[in-house]
Subunit: 377 residues, 2 copies
Amino acid sequence: MPGSRFEVVARDGDARAGRLATPHGVVETPAFMAVATYGAVRGVTPDELRALGAQMLLANTYHLHERPGEDVVARLGGLHGFTGWNGPWLTDSGGYQAFSLGERVSLDEDGVTFASAVDGTRRRLTPEGAVAIQEALGADVAVALDHCVASAPGPGAGGDLRPAWRDAMERSLRWAERCLKVRRRADQALFGILQGGADPGLRRESARATAGLGFDGYAHGGLGLGEAGAARSELLAITHAELPPGAPRYLMGLGRPEDLLAAVERGVDLFDCVVPTRNGRHGVLFTRAGKLSLRNARFREDPEPPDPGCDCPACSRFGLAYLRHLFVCGDLLGPRLASLHNLRFYYRLLAEARAAIAAGRFGAFRDEALAAAARGR
Amino acid sequence: MPGSRFEVVARDGDARAGRLATPHGVVETPAFMAVATYGAVRGVTPDELRALGAQMLLANTYHLHERPGEDVVARLGGLHGFTGWNGPWLTDSGGYQAFSLGERVSLDEDGVTFASAVDGTRRRLTPEGAVAIQEALGADVAVALDHCVASAPGPGAGGDLRPAWRDAMERSLRWAERCLKVRRRADQALFGILQGGADPGLRRESARATAGLGFDGYAHGGLGLGEAGAARSELLAITHAELPPGAPRYLMGLGRPEDLLAAVERGVDLFDCVVPTRNGRHGVLFTRAGKLSLRNARFREDPEPPDPGCDCPACSRFGLAYLRHLFVCGDLLGPRLASLHNLRFYYRLLAEARAAIAAGRFGAFRDEALAAAARGR
């Protein structure tokens, strides 16, 4: 793997603990990547991320291409120099934006055309362009451009999605080949992306063919977009059987703590999601005893920390009453402290999962974590 | 002075360096207090404030009375326990809100009636009530309720303001007496507030009479609301001649760095203002080389720190290009880092003023600081 090396250091059933050594440091897996869309995890500094347990961050290729542009980032020392986070970076490819931006996007065999969210101008993203942008950004791990479609019908829609899934899966394969052909950097790993919607056969075919192209790692694309949790676990298991066991596996864009634990059980190594920071901004905290909303009136005079035993900057210094007060008054410190707590919760959850795998007791750990969260406070 | 003790430790002309020892720590003066309206300096933690050089914070009595209520704050350990800032606190009295909230306020001899900004209900603030609320909040320094009016006519207004200034000044004196009569806490200093608009005679009369009542310190109210800088300096000098030289002097609500230096020259010891944090939120930084706007396109690829030689979390870790990018993309990290920088700039400016006074070279220091800022970058 150019620049990086991955090894599985422990297994417990299908769950595994690994070590991804990149040019900018080691990532102990399973690991969670906070989302730094424009090169910043909203409101949080690199020093704070490091203290919370962050190992690797994710940035969005499409957004950085628009602002400030990959040429500017490259001249300022790449993502590492530009942002001050000099640990490992992974960049997505823009495929998910092509899906999520919906009507502002058109797609053909050659690539994707966006109407810029910034100035409305036409922007073109091809497999070759996605690789070139990510090489300019200087990520430690880049991801091939894929054609992403939903894994379940949207509200009001219906019919058989399999033709669309097959079409997107096959196009993603052709784009994957084009990405591999133009890659240049010897210090940047490149991950392929699996598609195939919620169809086990298509997913298996995607995994087998993508693995046949020889990527450095494999990302699950198009999941968490409608399919049930049990179906997703099954799809992960089916596709993992087709992938080289020594390559890292990355579940893109998911999700809640229970989603992460279920995927770790099936052998996923890497995660990213906006769930901890987005929930934090809205005053929703993940704790050992389940989720809580800081706006709840019952916390009005509660001096206890949100999650006793948590060592984050919110729990170690502030009580529920004050944190609630910050949200009621609209002070920026509230969303900030809540985001810091949730990030710490995620980093700690995966560090504990890692330790449990190494100790051969991942199943028990998962059951305890889920039971504590279900009991609530 | 109940709970606290003030001493002047050095003089340079009228400028002075002092030491205000409070029940929660010492404040070396001249000192700047960041504004924590609802008990938080927007988005900044107590640990960060301490690292930046904060000594004492200001909270707003009227706002905390509305949310969460002084009874709640008292039960949670007062301002110190509730907010986690366990250094010295000063609370204002609500008089400025009675002025600034304009049409939602009516005033009579007994006190002020507000329409609550939160729920529209009628809230009454009297001199006795203002003292009781501040005692419940547990500030180290409280201030008497005053009747504040503008020191210059508003746009479109005109006529002789002196009758209104006299009226407000005399009412402030009567309210000051009522405040002194009901104070109870032996650990809370109480400052009187001078009024009198921009009229030297009224200001002198206010200072003499307020000093005659015997407060622990004296605040200049109603300045920075229209009068010219030179006129303000003159008013400060005239009133200081009437105040006991060993009592601390506090200029409320001002201002720009040049305003602070001019007031220090006249012997002011304490300041508060939203200027550094409000400017920071809008991307305007105070630097050794004057003000700059982070949104300026000329910083697009500038890797230099905003203020070379500054040791704040923004300047020590990030370049102008990245800080600009954060504002362009609307990331919360931008306003946060800019606020941290500006606070550090203010704390450092006053620490350097203090050192210059002790060294007998305040005039030279002030001239150098103003000249560097005027040269720009």
